[in-house]
């Protein structure tokens, strides 16, 4: 199988060497930050972290397909790499973990629940698929204002596709032919519930036909394939073609969160089997095979990523917690007088 892949011509879909290397750095950065979150939790320094190990290919690919300053991203909590990829400062992930200051999050939300209006990352909650109608509403706003050349990218996991709000959002976006791409990061597991308990179909993308929507599927462990598939869908949306449901298949390497223990519901053999298809190793292999990067450059890149993550960890940890008075701020516009 591996040989067959190698024998294929290298299709870079217009991506420059620099972009291909940027993808690799983004992937390493998000994995290093992920691992840092779990380490900090085990050290007792932060109460909670989520990880997206195994999703790196999706994030690096989708991030390059996203048009900064034009598109709107409506992510979910397993999208740290994607949010960094579209322009969010990596320290924001650490600020979220440490629940430290930061003007946008203010230590309120769980880690990995970002918001960044200035670069088009919409605020979202932990409630699965509750952000999908918001994405449809944002896409409706673009269409309503006749802002062609813009689209919404909304991400969710496979479990989200069971939610009523997800179905309603797909349907609404198709009825109104909205400029939106629905990106399912199908990692096979919704906490402990496998895909076959979630749906009676093998591929999430099969659902698209029921809404009269385009559907496309890609290998989420290949950032180049993800880039091509998501870019095609976003271009289609930006030019008025309407919504697409994209399914990117991947695998969740870590437990759901630091509070979960995946040994209670899936075998180590299964996890190891998927780890052998690691998106980072795969992308490294591709770049090495085609002379886009050298082993030495990869080592230097990894070292630089670790330096950066160490640096932002220290910076975030050194910041103070929000002042308790902040609890009462931004309930409503203006000064809130709590009912006492």
């Amino acid at each position: 199988m591996a040989k067959a892949v190698e024998s294929l011509a290298f299709e870079r879909h217009g991506l420059s060497d620099e972009q291909l290397r940027w993808m690799l750095r983004n992937m390493h950065l998000q994995r290093t930050i992920d691992n840092r979150g779990f380490q900090l939790n085990r050290q007792g320094k932060i109460p909670f972290a989520t990880g997206s190990e195994g999703h790196e290919g999706i994030h690096a690919g989708a991030a390059l397909a996203f048009m900064r300053g034009k598109d709107v991203l409506v992510p979910y909590y397993r999208d740290a790499g994607l949010c960094i990829g579209v322009g969010m400062e990596p320290i924001d992930v650490l600020l979220g973990m440490f629940a430290r200051g930061g003007e946008r999050q203010g230590g309120r939300q769980f880690p990995s629940h970002f918001t960044h209006r200035a670069i088009g990352i919409m605020s979202f909650s932990s409630i699965i698929a509750a952000h999908c109608p918001h994405a449809a509403g944002a896409a409706y706003s673009m269409k309503y204002r006749k802002e062609t050349g813009r689209a919404v990218l909304c991400c969710f996991g496979d479990g989200a596709t069971s939610e009523g709000e997800w179905h309603e959002s797909m349907n609404f976006s198709a009825v109104h032919n909205l400029p939106i791409v629905w990106l399912c990061e199908n990692n096979e597991w919704a906490i402990s519930t496998p895909r076959e308990h979630q749906m009676a179909i093998k591929d999430v993308v099969q659902k698209a036909v029921g809404y009269g929507m385009r559907g496309s599927m890609c290998d989420g462990s290949d950032p180049i394939a993800v880039y091509q598939t998501v870019k095609d869908a976003l271009d289609h949306a930006r030019s008025g073609g309407g919504p697409t449901l994209v399914e990117a298949k991947c695998y969740r390497f870590l437990s759901h969160t630091t509070d979960d223990d995946d040994r209670t519901y899936r075998s180590r053999e299964e996890v190891e089997k998927h780890r052998s298809l690691d998106p980072i190793l795969r992308h490294e292999r591709t770049l090495l095979d085609h002379g886009v990067i050298t082993v030495q450059e990869i080592e230097a890149l990894k070292k630089d990523v670790l330096r950066e993550v160490n640096e932002i960890t220290d910076r975030a940890e050194a910041l103070p917690y929000p002042d308790p008075s902040q609890l009462y701020v931004n309930v409503y516009e203006g000064t809130h007088e709590p009912w006492r």
């Binding site: 409506v74 918001t115 109608p133 706003s141 309603e168 931004n330 409503y332 007088e337």
Partner: protein, 334 residues
């Protein structure tokens, strides 16, 4: 408060809602209306009749029959700078949207620390007395008034409807706008011409008096005023306060009145347990206990899941004006 231009127009409550929505659509292209049957049908109470023709299908959206996304899509529009007015056809149908209202709209500003806001209006007709049975009669305010981040208004006079609906549309935060459907065509009044707003969170003393304070909202305000008139004929002056806004609640007006009359009766259509009257009672007991000359009393709907379709069952649920007057007399005599 913006001042109205001179003169008034007589309207019923349906006309007041319609007129205000129409003016809002005319004034601001960011406003749009979305809901079930708001377009070609013009809403089941004909509130938006003709709007589709005048404002077009982009602004008058006949949505799929799916309440969670009516509110949820509107939340997304609001976050991206539009001013959506979402309609839930009957308040009884709002439950599928509970997550979007309580979990999302109410917390958008808070969770993003002000990075995103949710200037959204959710209009819905509620209340009984129209043979609406279990799923076209309910009061929903108690299910939502617990939630910081939301505002809830329930005006029941045409002039209040206009002023508060304008305020809701202008408001930078999510507002639930509750319209008692029995008052739609029953209640008429003078509505000032031109644009004006009434501040959300301000109650209104509809009848001034000194022997008893009655706090109510919705249909029962009108019955409470009628009952107060009956007592006035006997020389007893009862003060009737129309809450108008449920959240935020006008503590000041209630407390000022209770400190004057020293007695408090709360009348609500919703059932008693955990209802609006429960919070008012607790608040007055905490803040004005020593000003009271009688126990606080509440007249409320019975502790059953809903009013039945049969006339006898509906009448048993609803509180007649005679019972309001009798309770007022008991309290005045206490």
């Amino acid at each position: 408060m913006a001042l109205a231009t001179a003169g008034t127009t007589t309207m019923n409550n349906v006309e007041a809602v319609r007129h205000t929505l129409y003016e809002a659509l005319k004034a601001d292209p960011k406003t749009l209306i979305m809901g079930e049957d708001v377009g070609a049908r013009g809403n089941v109470f004909l509130i938006t009749k003709g709007f589709l023709e005048e404002f077009g299908p982009e602004r008058i959206i006949d949505t799929p029959l799916a309440e969670a996304s009516i509110v949820g899509v509107a939340v997304g529009m609001a976050m991206e700078g539009l001013r959506p007015i979402a309609e839930i056809q009957f308040a009884d149908f709002i439950y599928p949207a509970f997550n979007q209202i309580v979990g999302e709209a109410a917390k958008t500003r808070y969770r993003s620390n002000g990075d995103y806001t949710c200037p959204l209006v959710i209009r819905t007709p509620y209340g009984g007395g129209v043979r609406g049975a279990l799923s076209h009669s309910v009061s929903i305010e108690a299910l939502f008034y617990h939630v910081p981040g939301l505002k809830i208004v329930a005006p029941s006079f045409p002039a209040d409807i206009k002023g508060l609906l304008n305020a809701a549309i202008d408001d930078p935060d999510p507002v639930m706008f509750l319209e008692h459907k029995k008052t739609y065509r029953l209640v008429k009044g003078e509505v000032p011409n031109g644009h004006y707003t009434i501040p959300i969170g301000k109650a209104d003393v509809k009848v001034a008096g000194d022997a008893l304070t009655v706090v109510s909202y919705g249909l029962y305000v009108h019955q409470a005023i009628e009952a107060a008139k009956q007592l006035a004929a006997d020389g007893v002056s009862v003060e009737v306060i129309d809450l108008r806004s449920i959240r935020p609640m006008d503590k000041t007006t209630i407390l000022e009145s209770v400190r004057k009359t020293r007695k408090l009766l709360i009348i609500q259509e919703d059932n008693k347990f955990g209802g609006i009257g429960a919070e008012i009672s607790a608040m007055v007991a905490e803040e004005a206990f020593f000003d009271l000359d009688a126990p606080i009393r509440r007249l409320a709907g019975p502790d059953v899941p809903a009013m039945g379709y049969a006339q006898t069952l509906e009448e048993e649920f609803m509180i007649p004006t005679s019972r309001m007057a009798a309770t007022m007399r008991e309290m005045v005599a206490f």
